[in-house]
């Protein structure tokens, strides 16, 4: 479906849409189906107006050739729905418990902790979801010390994450019994209980800065979901190296559903579990 005609809006023709879609796919791996036409047109028109480039060709040339890549980045941010909530892509948490952790823990020595890194953790929904899932569903949860490290580049969201206070929308997919066990009501919001809040290590880190990530090592699982889609190709490869360094041999990385490590780096092996497709640092790799 094309956008309704409005003479004050820049025109995006059918062939413009196809050219943009192909280009965007090559750059991000994200493909817009025909039924996303209105969604794409609306955002393209918004950015064309904001850039004072009314002809699609001019705007398209800018996003392709702008040295800073800034406008393309702005467009990526607009085209990707940047929202987070508890149990987002919940099948990966099931995969963690049912497939990944049994494999990881088979190689553990007595007393060795299970280490999980959530990056970027945004306002905390992901690391808390991991904690809830482990506590609720992992039979071996009491046999291991579990260290969850949650990091983000943005200190504002980290502060929110540490507070652990959420509205109805954020927790709508959390089972009622889980909410009752691990949160308490505070002025109409849900607050994660202190035992869980205090057990997660929150820290600021810039994944693109190899110096600041050198302290993040020996993880068994890294959740890095819906971040790489915001990066250019070179930054994605940098991030893949960082994650590789952070993982133990045989460790796993979970990406967002539209992301593919195979398109970024050949360092990892694809693992198809029943619940999800994830990537693994080869067991034969040096630590």
């Amino acid at each position: 479906m094309t956008a309704p005609f409005n003479p004050s809006l820049p025109v995006v023709t059918d062939s413009d849409f196809v050219r943009f879609r192909d280009f965007f796919y090559r750059k991000t791996g994200i493909m817009f189906a025909d039924n996303k036409r209105y969604f794409v047109d609306k955002r393209l028109q918004e950015r064309m107006l904001a850039s004072s480039l009314i002809q699609f060709r001019d705007y398209f040339n800018m996003i392709r050739f702008q040295a800073s890549g800034e406008e393309f980045q702005t467009l990526v941010n607009l085209m990707t729905v940047n929202e987070t909530y508890f149990y987002r892509e919940e099948y990966q948490f099931r995969c963690l418990v049912q497939s990944i952790l049994p494999e990881v823990t088979r190689r553990k020595r007595p007393g060795e902790p299970v280490r999980i890194w959530s990056v970027p953790c945004s306002t905390g929904e992901e690391p808390y979801s991991i904690a809830f899932q482990l506590l609720d569903t992992w039979a071996d949860v009491d046999r291991f010390d579990i260290e969850i490290v949650a990091t983000d580049i943005d200190t504002t969201v980290l502060e929110q994450a540490k507070r652990g206070l959420y509205g109805d929308r954020a927790v709508q997919h959390v089972p009622e019994a889980t909410l009752e066990r691990y949160t308490r009501r505070v002025r109409g919001a849900y607050e994660v209980i202190p035992d869980i809040r205090d057990s997660i290590a929150f820290a600021r880190v810039n994944l693109a800065d190899s110096l600041s990530t050198r302290q993040f090592r020996n993880f068994d699982v890294v959740f890095c979901r819906n971040l790489l889609i915001y990066f250019d190709d070179a930054s994605r490869r940098d991030a893949a190296q960082t994650i590789y360094e952070a993982l133990r041999p045989g460790g796993f990385v979970c990406l967002g559903h539209s992301e593919s490590m195979s398109r970024i780096s050949s360092l990892f092996e694809l693992r198809k579990f029943t619940e999800a497709i994830v990537y693994q640092k080869p067991l034969s790799a040096e630590a």
């Binding site: 062939s15 050219r19 280009f23 060709r57 392709r64 050739f65 702008q66 040295a67 890549g69 902790p113 904690a131 482990l134 506590l135 949860v141 009491d142 046999r143 291991f144 010390d145 579990i146 260290e147 969850i148 490290v149 035992d195 869980i196 205090d198 057990s199 997660i200 290590a201 820290a203 190899s210 110096l211 600041s212 050198r214 302290q215 993040f216 250019d232 190709d233 070179a234 490869r237 940098d238 893949a240 190296q241 590789y244 360094e245 780096s265 050949s266 360092l267 790799a285 040096e286 630590a287």
Partner: protein, 198 residues
């Protein structure tokens, strides 16, 4: 409660020693670390590229390629262009991917790459143009279109202009196809490209 909070260790002490020497280190981790440390050093292009030619560990190879991409000079691009003739498919593709992100540095090394005696290497060099964020990318594709004697290089240039060309380049695309009357696929590619950018 099985959850334990353990903060990541404070930033580790900076690695000491000469990273060029560490590029020859025994473990892959040492060599990766050395590559990371040399990523900001324009004088490290040759030691990195020399090591890359001998390196067998994939993780170190990737770290060296990233370092060369970060250095981002014409000298780094030239050493990467050298790899386009490699028999190692992984290395060749990785070099192409790295070059595709190097923009201006690649432009500085293209004259040499497009004059290479090996047509396959020229095709790889032309293919990189489509990904460059540089206004001169189309001009190099036009040059290959007009001057290259190999039909497959010209076909690659047409494919590039189908992506980044403008309507004023249509006559050049058609003229290039006319240079190879015995290659009907080229006329077809030229028509498709012209339709696309018209």
């Amino acid at each position: 409660m099985a959850l334990v909070r353990k903060h990541p260790a404070a930033a580790p002490a900076p690695v000491q020693g000469d990273p060029r020497a560490a590029l020859e280190g025994v473990t892959a981790a040492e060599r990766r670390e050395a590559a990371h440390r040399l990523a900001g050093d324009p004088d490290a292009v040759d030691p990195l590229a020399d090591r890359l030619a001998r390196e067998t560990d994939k993780s170190v190879r990737e770290a060296i390629l990233l370092a060369l991409g970060h250095i981002g000079t014409a000298a780094a691009a030239e050493r990467l262009f050298d790899l386009l003739g490699s028999e190692d498919v992984w290395l060749r593709n990785a070099a192409i991917e790295t070059l595709a992100e190097m923009d201006a540095a690649v432009i500085g090394a293209l004259d040499q790459a497009l004059a290479d005696s090996d047509s396959d290497r020229r095709i790889f060099a032309v293919n990189i143009l489509v990904s460059l964020r540089h206004p001169a990318a189309a001009d190099y594709a036009r040059r290959a279109l007009a001057e290259d004697a190999h039909v497959n290089v010209v076909a690659a240039a047409i494919d590039v202009l189908a992506e980044i060309g403008t309507p004023d380049m249509i006559p050049e695309i058609e003229a290039a196809a006319a240079r190879f009357p015995d290659a009907p696929f080229l006329a077809y590619a030229a028509r498709a490209a012209s339709r696309r950018i018209a």
